[in-house]
Amino acid sequence: MQIKQILLLGLLCACSIFSNAQTTGSLKGYVKNEAGEPVESATVKLLNTAFGTVSDNAGLFAIRNIAPGKYTLTITGIGIKPLQRAITITTGNETELLIAVKSAIVNMETVTVTGRSAAQESNRQAFNVTAVDAKKLYNTTLDLAGALDRVSGIRVRESGGVGSNFNLSLNGFSGNHVRYFIDGIPMDNFGSSFQINNIPINVAERLEVYKGVVPIWLGSDALGGAINIVTGDSYRNYIDASYSYGSFNTHRTVINTALTNKRGLTVQLNAFQNYSDNSYRVKVDAADINTGAYAPNTLLNRFHDTYHNENLIVNVGVVDKSWADKLLLGITLGKNYKEIQTGARMVSVFGGWHRKGDIIMPTLKYKKANLIKNLDVTLNANYNLGSEQNIDTMNVRYDWYGNSKPNGSNGERSKSMYKYKNNNGIATSVVNYRIGEHQSVALSDVFTTFNRKGNDAINPSSADNELTKKTQKNVLGLGYSYDVRDNWSVSVFGKYIYQNNINGSAANAAATNKFGYGIAATYFLLPALQIKSSYELTNRMPEAQEIFGDVENQEGNPNLRPEQSNNFNIGVSYAFSANSNSKFLVNANAIYRRSDNFIYNRLNNNQSKLVADNRDGVRTVGGDGEIRYSYKNWLTLGTTITYQYLQNLQKYEPEYTGVSPVYKDQMPNIPYFFGNGDVSVSLRNVGRKGNNLNIGYNLLYVHAFYLYWPSRGGDKLDIPQQLSHDINLVYSVASGKYNVGLECRNITDALLYDNFSLQKPGRAFYLNLRYFLNNINK
């Protein structure tokens, strides 16, 4: 690999030689609307020149290398009134502008579908990406997982209520095939206290879902795709606070705030909390612990399922300095407590077993565009000092009525006070160099380290605890892209992955090298008709949790092999209007994947834990689609549909010479057909001017699927169809300063199962109060 690095360095050096001497000036500015909010995606041009750009999600823009002189600056954009301004550029100086634009009321109604928010802007990349505008969900009680579940191609399977285990599948890939990032930083090492099932949607500005090919700047060995949570910093001075209360004694609080002074000193704070008894009613075959008799279909409340987490993220630093657009030192602090009600089947019920975790994670974020001319640098690093503990000390058997009786000597499931630290850290760096208007080269590197150390106070001699559990991984990526905005673009990239695992002793160390590459391209047939296509040969290494287990539900598999896959994607996106009031947006994607050593989770032989395992070959063919419609400015409708067919192509089973009975069978226990529908009605000026009422409805459908191989057996176990309806009502006062939301989930009280026998909550109500104040002092 050395030669590649040398070549790259050479390339970068060669490029920087062409940097011009300072004979030009530059221009920098900020576009805001009358509400003081940043205007993104506004087109900024110098009239009668080739100079132009688009404002970013913070409303900021910059144009460099402008010959000195007088120019006319034009600002145009969807939803704003065009504006012109005379400016003067002088040699060696950066002209700064604050531009206040007015909203073009006539166009506002079209914004929902045709206006390009940052979320939709992401969708215009060559990659197969879906962006969710999180701001539209701020008045709901959704967590990130709940919001993602509404994206086509995504299915989040939950084992219960608030804080329960989840498994997100993206185009048929699940578990660690899909990597999570927060502002481009991998979330691999965040522990149980900071995960997509306990982070409220309000922490995010948008969610980017990359299906299949993942851009190089998200350096990682994601194979099935990636989810990037963009927390955004479009507001420099604001407070956004919300509190909700609802069924099963559920409380949630979120406070987001930032303060920035004129000298660029900034403090950002996110604090959130979830608490729930999860005491929802379930229908179970409740066994009498003394006689063993089941009382079928008994309705009982869950009694040992309390979950709570509390988190605080603080970042302190500077913004908008000549040497740093952003330099933030921060810390993420949090803890969580989770009681475990059941095992992998609802017949195994627990009354004392629980888990605790905390996160203490210092972070560093640095970003500078044009560190030297046309060279952008992003550096991030964090280290998690947090710990996890699994506590199972009661030697009893519980029943669903909450009774218990003595049962042997090995705890409720497996006696444990095991407490461990994963000692994991991440460092990422991305360097992006632009060559002229259309080309850029990006180099990214992600290094992660994991070293689990733990001990068990009640099993101090347990040999397993003493074993070394260490893994280190480095992903180096190099990409090149050529982009003609709104016309076509293409990216090619290569990734080199190195991983070293030590399991047990240094003698069991195993180092692996993998090389992957890909290409992504997009072409606009019409301004509103985009096709995109990508291919990647991708590798995904076994994760630490898969190799070593998570001490709770995941059993370790030290023999897990890396997976390699050929991924093809093709997508089309088209926006059109039937008439001036009715706007449509249609997205459709098709995927093909051929994976070797496909990694997937199966139940262990005891049906008590999940264990990651390889299949020799799995082929996935699938498609997903989305249609959105808006009528004037008050009605929107949407539906998404996903179908995916995962086929087992392992022809021979280990130790057998004949063709496997499940060769070419559909992979079991994976949802393969599902969709969402939503309707939203916005009524303006209800009660008084500036007060809005929003009524939303959301439907979730998941087709039934088999627990075990479909071709085997006549009388089979399945996970039944799910159909659930949610409605919500939000009343916003004073242009969104005060908001009151009312939400009802699963209105029909349907019995919902994502996993065999594990019932999810029935009908639930939530009241949500939110206060938002934005005061930009630009």
């Binding site: 003394n290 499931r413 032989n605 280990p654 992979m667 969402n676 191989w709 057996g713």
Partner: protein, 403 residues
């Protein structure tokens, strides 16, 4: 407004259009009958066991493809008693879910589910199934027994036995299996230091004798001519028509991963009406067979057994022998059976097999490396094995018969 309604309806219908109809739940077996075969598909992962029926074990074919009653998982044990077939899940620390079936018109008919515990030994005793959950931790030496009534299908009583105190040698008794002998329960055991299953006592055999009605330990009988009786999860005792009890020792006691017993694999006897080893009876199997050891057996009646045996080089605590032979405990003879597939083609032999107890016939499962399996009829009188029912798409784990 019309367009709004239409579009809304379309959007919702698009989502709903796909809902498929449910099955009506009546599934006709491919090969109806009173024989039950439990089959695990020859796939390493994501598999469940299937219960198949067959009208005959000697001819025909049956498959798991689209056929069979799916069981939740494969870590299962099966026992037939009191005209019922029990499918028991072995789940570490989980409650043991049991499903009971009978056969109606050649079709399995689910009677009920009930819950027991995950246990390491179980056997029919009187009207009950007696289950033993055995401790592997000397710090907590109480092992729990449960009596499950096979008529009411309920746990009727339970209690504990201190399996550390039972041995008196500082190691825990681990019952290899349990067997009803008259009003008593005989529980042969091996001793273990802890959950490593190592022992410092590889050269003795013990049987704990319990009075069934109150499960009180009456005595422990010991024999130093062999290593322990049976193997983990293997019945090493057999009761003949005259109530003599025969016992085999596989001689597989181990310590630190090495087989440590100096005693040969052999068969011993407890004469009817006594509760001591018969010192006058000793059948040195290892000597007679030319160095082999018994791994499993099934009693056909008339002092005749079908045994699985391994050669010395294959010997292991959990290996099931692919050599099949006939042992006559009265004559102290061992003769190999012919007609089985080549040992190199055999993946495994089933250990939970069926015999009509006619003194000469047994039906054993033979699972081939190519993924197909057959039931072989072993005729002890002719020393032959004949290929019978073919089972496609899986490994036979048990062959049972239910009236």
């Amino acid at each position: 407004m019309n367009i709004k309604t239409t579009l809304a309806t379309l959007a919702v219908m698009a989502v709903l259009a796909s809902c498929s109809k449910d099955n009506d739940g009546t599934v006709t077996p491919e090969n109806p009958g009173n024989y039950i075969l439990t089959v695990t598909p020859a796939a390493s992962t994501g598999v469940a066991d299937y219960l198949l029926t067959a009208g005959s074990l000697e001819t025909g074919a049956v498959s798991t493809a689209g056929n069979g009653v799916e069981q939740d998982g494969t870590y299962r044990y099966y026992v037939t008693y009191n005209d019922k077939f029990f499918s028991m899940l072995y789940g570490q620390g989980n409650p043991g879910a049991v499903t009971a079936y009978n056969v109606k018109d050649g079709k399995l008919n689910k009677l009920t589910n009930f819950q027991t515990e995950t246990v390491q030994a179980f056997a029919p005793v009187k009207d009950d199934l007696l289950l033993f959950k055995i401790s592997r931790n000397p710090a907590t030496p109480l092992s729990t027994w449960y009596k499950v009534n096979t008529n009411s299908l309920l746990i009727t009583s339970e209690g504990t036995t201190n399996t550390l105190a039972l041995t008196g040698n500082g190691e825990l008794a681990h019952f290899s299996w349990i067997k009803q002998v008259g009003d008593k329960v005989y529980a042969p055991y091996f001793t273990i230091i802890n959950n490593s299953f190592a022992t410092n006592y590889p050269d003795s055999a013990w049987v704990a004798v319990f009075n069934y009605s109150d499960m009180k330990l009456e005595k422990v009988i010991k024999d130093d001519r062999t290593s322990f009786i049976g193997r983990y999860f293997t019945d090493g005792l057999a009761l003949t028509e005259n109530n003599d009890v025969y016992a085999f020792s596989a001689s597989v006691a181990a310590n630190g991963g090495k087989l440590t017993s100096t005693k040969p694999s052999a068969i011993t006897r407890i004469k009817a009406g006594t509760s001591e080893f018969d010192k006058t009876y000793y059948f040195n199997f290892e000597e007679v067979s030319g160095g082999m050891n018994i791994t499993n057996w099934i009693y056909l009646g008339n002092n005749t057994f079908v045994v699985n045996a391994t050669a010395k080089a294959e010997k292991g605590a959990y290996v099931v022998g692919t050599t099949v032979g006939i042992v006559n405990v009265a004559d102290k003879t061992f003769k190999k059976v012919s007609g089985l597939p080549n040992a190199t083609d055999i993946k495994s032999l089933t250990t939970n097999n069926y015999t009509p107890k006619d003194g000469k016939t047994s039906y054993i499962g033979v699972n081939l490396k190519d993924g197909t399996s057959y039931v072989y009829k072993v005729d002890a009188s002719t020393l032959t094995a004949t290929q019978g029912l073919k089972v496609d798409g899986g490994t036979i784990t048990a062959i049972q018969y239910l009236k």
